[in-house]
Assembly symmetry: D2
């Protein structure tokens, strides 16, 4: 339903880049979940541009929760988070409102909204809105942790530079959740940063791949067919601007494997059924099998670049050249990582509440 995601736990997003507030309403969360504002702040900080390898726009994200929380606990009724927009410079964008920025939503939005869309700073399509998604997801992620379910995402690849593979998942997830620049191998921080800065110097941008692991999900969650957990997770992930692909387990690589290589043999370990490999990323037939959920997303290079670009003026119906000004990010993959964590947490809370009832997440 457009800007609302979820069935039992549902999140509604709203706001524009240069409006007064962006925000989110989370409906259906169990009552009694601890809402740790520190935790939310920390996740918002990880998403925030740092001004060096990200846009110099200053975002302080001084969120406030205006409903659904009492004495630090969820009430069970809709929880609303507001994040004021600050440091808004509408002037930068005024001139280009009718000129479609290549690979941005400007022209598609024009076809849908007929010129009434708020085009300032990307309006409702701005990556800025992901701050509200992160705040909402932070509450979900923290609730899941209380139930032993942990989510972590690393920059698997940026500008062609590869991070190491996941090792012990729980250890790695906890480590990633402490890091500002989420790579498993710290050597990558400098390498990736340099590649981003180099692209920036050239007026260009880079993309990457994000890999998310979830441990602790109970088996038997998700649906056959249309609400497979893969369907639900991918539905959510493609809501994140810049995501152009998603794969679970071995993903596209599995298409080159033989069945005998790809199949995950079952075994018993410590009295529990496990698989010896996890090429299916914890999901069989769309339903969790108790193994870690693993998925990767493809993040495209940020479309705003500092080079002249051929485009059209869709009011004048004429070709033109876009000479960009204003702020921009040479890369967002390192920031999108926390958005991916948050988004995954929302999907899982919804699926779990639907499976085990609305009190399950109470902790």
């Amino acid at each position: 339903m457009k800007n609302t995601f979820g069935t039992s736990v549902a999140v509604t997003l709203f706001g524009e880049s240069h409006g007064e507030y962006i925000g989110a309403v989370i409906d259906g969360l169990a009552p009694g979940i601890t809402v740790d504002e520190e935790y939310i702040s920390r996740m918002l900080t990880l998403r925030r541009p740092d001004g060096k390898i990200s846009t110099p726009r200053k975002e302080t994200d001084e969120f406030k929760i205006v409903s659904g929380v009492l004495c630090g606990k969820t009430t069970g009724t809709p929880l609303t988070i507001l994040i004021p927009n600050e440091n808004v410079k509408s002037g930068d964008y005024a001139a280009i409102q009718m000129i479609a920025r290549p690979s941005h939503a400007d022209y598609a939005a024009q076809c849908k909204y007929h010129g009434f869309q708020d085009a300032r700073g990307g309006g409702h399509f701005s990556g800025r809105i992901t701050a509200a998604l992160v705040a909402a997801g932070a509450i979900c992620k923290s609730a899941l942790e209380k139930k032993g379910i942990f989510i972590g995402t690393h920059v698997k690849k940026c500008a062609g530079i590869l991070d190491r593979e996941f090792g012990d998942l729980l250890t790695d997830i906890k480590m990633l959740n402490q890091k500002t620049f989420a790579v498993l191998d710290d050597v990558c921080i400098e390498k990736m940063t340099n590649a981003i800065l180099e692209a920036a110097k050239d007026g260009d941008s880079v993309g990457g791949v994000l890999e998310t692991a979830v441990v602790g999900m109970p088996a038997g969650v998700g649906e056959p067919w249309f609400d497979s957990l893969e369907s639900q997770i991918s539905h959510m992930m493609f809501s994140i601007p810049a995501v152009k692909g998603i794969e679970f387990g071995k993903g596209f690589a599995i298409s080159d494997m033989k069945g005998s290589e790809a199949n995950d043999a079952f075994a018993i370990k410590n009295g529990e059924i496990v698989t010896q490999t996890n090429n299916n990323g914890g999901l069989n037939g769309g339903i969790t099998n108790g193994m870690p959920i693993l998925f990767r997303t493809a993040i495209k290079p940020t479309p705003t670049i500092f080079k002249p670009q051929n485009t059209v003026d869709f009011k004048e119906m004429s070709e033109t050249v876009l000479e960009p000004k204003g702020r921009h990010d040479p890369a967002i993959v390192h920031r999108a990582r926390i958005v991916q964590d948050a988004a995954a947490a929302i999907v899982l809370c919804d699926a779990l509440a639907l499976r085990f009832g609305t009190d399950w997440l109470k902790g």
Copy 2:
């Protein structure tokens, strides 16, 4: 909602591999759409195992439409398709009901359905159910064609063998829709068939990649954030058994590109706004921009193989070895291609009806 997909046009799937009928209900289709049973039959035939590089199970798919159609036209009320199951040999599966077939849904289903699931032939998780999806999608695909929207899928890769790239899309799509083995370069038919047969001889299976193109979609369809058209399409595609990844436009490859390479410059051609490249696969900000929609899915090798596999008996909670018997497909990628067409058609009909009203597809 579990086994129902869609908002304005909604499809509900039901049935089990060894039940009396599988089927689908399509609700919300515009009245007055021509329902061409030949067209449906042709699509069902393309999905059907051919007995050579597919399972020897004979499926005749003698579907019947028992509601929602009068005098060959949709009435606008729920259209129900029934496909009887024939040639059912339950005996083959009886013995392995408690033994989890690796990378099948058996164990996940056990965790969700506590032993009450119909495990015969994969039950509700069987690829057999896709016949109902194909029948439903055939009606949608045919309705879209009347509106100038064409969908085609080719086996981009099978057993590591690559088909050629798409050329002129409309020509290629129409050609694919005539073919039994959907590749753009006919040379691949023999190569891929041989690779499949070789795997089969070895008791093994192979996977592949499917690529779908859609031409003719109007611009301005889809939603920002949670109902991006990418979200909706991926949600649907991950409902297809064996899909483990999806990517739009350049997909994962875009994550290695610079912004200046990846961006699709806009231009004007014959008085219409187009992009000079289509790295974003026809979608910006989740909304169609009028360019062709392009996406690829990763199809895993069929998990049923003719080799002994380590697994567990989840009733006995003991490790065991699975010695498979019965029918199986050494590959499904060449059959899944028509499922992907059908599934895409359903998503697009829903998105278009939501955007332009419930009469739009009337033709």
Copy 3:
């Protein structure tokens, strides 16, 4: 979503009066629920016209369940019920397809379906479709009984004749569920039957009021605001043809009461919180309070009558007189009673599964 109702447990209806099958798909039912075909048959029999005070159309309702049940238990995957239409006489209706029957859906359907609707016997709008609703609801009602939740409906009023008030609810509900003509006071059977026959003799029809009681619902089910249980129940009840009103507890009569009379004082009885009166019908703020749920619906007189009626031919756009032929019911209130039971059972199963998880109804 049009012909689908429910979130966690969802029912989809399909079929037309003169089609091959009518039917229902129930998705999301817990696995392991006993499906008692006798029970379903009994409920279908209670809905069926008896040929005396109902239409002489013979309906045997030889339903079959073609998916979702194995060895007499739900599998947890979509359960599909088919009911073949028999004794179909399309000829009776052919002549009046373009002549709007007053207070029937014919003209409204024409405006929505533009002449493509199946008009034979009312098509998809026929009360016949309620047989599928009853079959689906029978499974839900039986599952609820295993959990101690009992539903019963009586003909509170028919042709102006009033049944007695509910006494001990559980006793009365169990008695009603045994009865063919569901009144609390048997004296009403003859009175109401005579009034119906008298109207029939005169070529006319009568309506009535149905009252439903539910005992055993746990407290804390339902949602504030848009998914109040009243909202959900009324949404469902207005799906039943002929329902033109619904009221909970004292209903419209409460609007004439003072707050001091209307308020339900709380008390403690056998260690449990109860209310001393139940003017609110078991619901406060849209959520169950543990008291019995009580509601009444207004059933209009069947619109098909044996008198000439002024109307229009909407193809010719001319005024005309309708001279009815064919079969009809002088009253349906005594049959609708079992539809109301079934419909209520579906709503409650959905609300309970959403609240307590998808396994809760397993029994």
Copy 4:
């Protein structure tokens, strides 16, 4: 979905009586709809307690729209309205948080939210939240008027005093929309006011009946079965606190009529198909027939009264007497009238957008 209503146009409500903000998000509104803040203010004023026959709580309802509107027009993306809570006196309620107020949601909420609910002033269950519903509905109502669809509600009955019947609907609706106390016959204002004041003097409260008329709805809107427009409207209306019944057209009275009296004969007037009576309230088979929509709701007397009431302390599980303090309304029926208008407008915008596409309301 809990606190979200609608499919194509969806409204999400949030907030608590004593929180910082209450508010609403409207998603899916067509772009380019004029948002007239005066119009919204006027509707909010009509809802607001006047301090005489309503609670002395001062509500200024200084709403602000923080997303989805640019230059006074909807953008087409989620529109968020915030209404700050002022004049909050939490102290009044602190003492009774564990004592269930009879016929309020307190105890039901306790069963659902386990003590985590915000009980101050009724929290999320407070009638205060309807201010957000009114603001959201005002935008919808105003958009409908631009398309020739007019909604008006009068206090049909209050404290047993009856207003006159509707006459010429369009004239009456326009008149009602100008009035502070919405009755058709001005004589009722003093009579009803006196009755309310008398009840207030006695520490008691009164209820009433609201009747709503809608003119201008095109025929062919709504769905057969589960999404009949009656289902959708009733779903919404039971979200309004205090509504305990709803009836369409003749409603419960129709159950006493003969078919020959109840049936609405069709005729042709000025080249258009109309009915000569409108006993079905503009809806046949759940779908609009082009006649005015008519419905009435039963509003219970406000449960807060100034008399001691028997109740329980649900923390202590003991019986007790509630001695009420704080502010309260001796009647809300005259204020609820504007809530009913707003709520109806939301339902109709959703149904129309679904039927005719997301641009239809653009005006």
